[in-house]
């Protein structure tokens, strides 16, 4: 079916070129993320020692500090871009995104409970599990309240409710902690950061992110059919209950795992699918890979930006993505203002 679609748009080569350009840009962003940092290290020399297994300071910084940061930026961005594209297609709602409808916020609450109660110290695996369980609960709740064909306003309002509750509960847990630093860490959980994360964080976040992304990619063909209407999709043999289960489970795994180690990073899943949709002839199945790559590029670039900006301490990542994303959301609302009434 994809082949037919591509021939219809007459640009299979164009699509391949798009993915090529995105992959190349992503590679550049990844290498830049490794090359830019705070220590006075020669990137080439550090790379050489790291590859030849030497254990000097440069290699150490490269492997233990910069590599986890770049890997997390890539995978978290990939998951957010993909989740946004899948949600917008399935809910047929241009504002659907894990951050706006409250799934990221809920995941942050789940992770915060596990982390500050000390359970994360018992086993670091519990941290992403907390994020995933809370994200899953929020996803199920949203579907129960807003349903699949809810209009934009209902979904957004339900999202505001979930977001406010999650934000308040995060704040409550942080204030209950006896550690005086905890109260100030609401910034980390609501705005996100990859600063000084380690390979341990990579190891606990990657499995759920990868599993979640696989589940989300599995919805691809059903999303194409759904674009032709719900009845058409059903008559083509797609069971939308399965699609919905893949979506809710996939988003919970990917976003829950990501938020547990990096906090919530907003707007990536909103902005990227909208920017790339015109290049894929508005076909969901084509948008998914492009949007995932685009999400990774945006997140890595934002993470490079916070390291280059001369602020002390480093800006949180969500500040940069919100500065880009919020005006974008505003312009979307402006264009949709007729439909929202």
């Amino acid at each position: 079916m994809s082949e037919i679609a591509l021939q219809a748009t007459g640009s299979a080569a164009g699509y391949r070129r798009l993915l090529g350009i995105l992959s190349l840009t992503l590679l550049v962003a990844f290498v830049l993320s490794l090359a830019i940092g705070y220590g006075p290290f020669d990137f080439g020399a550090a790379l050489h020692s790291a590859l030849s297994g030497k254990d000097d300071l440069g290699a150490l910084v490269f492997i233990e500090i910069r590599l986890p940061r770049a890997i997390l930026g890539l995978f978290v961005g990939f998951a957010l871009g993909l989740a946004g594209a899948v949600m917008q297609a399935f809910l047929r709602n241009p504002l659907a995104e894990p951050g706006i409808i409250g799934i990221s916020g809920a995941a942050a609450f789940g992770a915060v409970v596990i982390f500050y109660s000390g359970l994360a110290a018992v086993s670091s695996l519990l941290l992403p599990i907390g994020g995933i369980v809370a994200a899953l609960a929020a996803g199920l709740l949203l579907f129960a309240v807003a349903g699949r064909n809810a209009n934009t306003a209902t979904l957004i309002l339900a999202g505001i409710a979930v977001n406010s509750l999650a934000g308040a509960l995060v704040s409550l847990v942080l204030n209950l902690s006896p550690n005086p630093f905890a109260a100030t860490e609401i910034m980390f959980w609501l705005m996100g950061s990859f600063a000084d994360r380690s390979l341990t964080h990579v190891a606990i976040a990657l499995p759920p992110i990868v599993a979640g992304c696989i589940a989300l990619f599995l919805t691809s063909r059903a999303l194409d059919a759904l674009a032709l209407g719900e009845d058409t999709a059903t008559s083509l043999g797609f069971d939308l209950r399965i699609t919905r289960a893949l979506l809710v489970g996939g988003v919970a795994l990917a976003v829950g795992g990501a938020v547990a180690v990096s906090g919530t990073i907003g707007f990536v899943g909103l902005v990227v699918p909208h920017l790339l949709r015109p290049f894929v002839a508005y076909r969901p199945s084509l948008l998914l890979p492009a949007s995932a790559l685009g999400g990774a590029i945006l997140t890595l670039s934002a993470d490079i930006a916070v390291r280059l900006l001369p602020t002390q301490p480093e800006l949180k990542l969500g500040v940069v993505t919100a500065v880009i994303g919020a005006p974008f959301l505003f312009s979307l609302v402006w264009r949709m203002r007729g439909d929202l009434r």
């Binding site: 940092g37 705070y38 220590g39 006075p40 290290f41 254990d55 000097d56 300071l57 150490l60 910084v61 233990e64 500090i65 910069r66 982390f115 500050y116 000390g118 994360a120 110290a121 902690s177 006896p178 550690n179 005086p180 630093f181 905890a182 100030t184 860490e185 980390f188 000084d196 380690s198 390979l199 341990t200 002390q312 301490p313 480093e314």
Partner: protein, 281 residues
Amino acid sequence: MPGRWLTYCLAALAVLAVADAPPAAARPQHIVSINLCADQLLMRLADPDQIASLSYFSRDASMSNLAEEASAFPRNRGLAEEVMRYKPDMVFAGRYTKRMTVDLLKRIGVDVVELDVPRSIPDVEAQIRRVGEALGQEARAEAMVREMEARLATEDVSASKRPSAIVYEPNGYTVGAGSIINVLISLAGLENLAAEKGLESYSRLPLEKLVALSPDVLVVGDYRDAPAVANEILHHPVLSRMPRPMEIVSVPQRLWMCGGPDIFKAVEVLRQAADKARARQ
């Protein structure tokens, strides 16, 4: 009958006269502290019956060196209303904290003693003497200063034998010049690399730069066991994988965050780390 009244009155006058006799009369009798550092000076310098209430954290063993002793006194959260309930004749506060409460207390005429943040040993000593004077307990203050001086006294460690050190606190903050902690590091025979590199007191040192500096001793500001993202940087795996192993020593915050009489204990901890680092070289 009038005779008995007269006796009562004379007795009352006599009591007043005794109460008025110096130095006891000069001594405040209902002291409230809303500052953790003041709490610890009060418990050591004042008579227990001079103290009406201590700050909320005075019983917190991770912040206070006298947590157990503090449980004998009522505690307050530093709100003006709460403080006034004790009808204090003197309130102890910090120079930079609880400003709203302090302003309000001053406006209604309460005698407020504000503690400074000492930046040197003479600052610490002057502060102890000032508090002693306010309490009418000059002799105890003088004895405390003498004891501290004796415990801090040290043989000079020549510059070449000074292992390099970096203080690393939650969120990756380090301590440079212009802080009492920098003075304590020098007294312990260590060389504070952050001060040498011109870093201000309490500036952020990215993990990468810490690895690049590769100090002989890493002084970890150990806050407490409760988890916080801020503490994760102190347990980052890179710190235990340095090519040249660092001596990692943890100094409990309660020993030096006040710049009070407990600082010599912090110096003792640091001296042990310095000895180990020298033995390793």
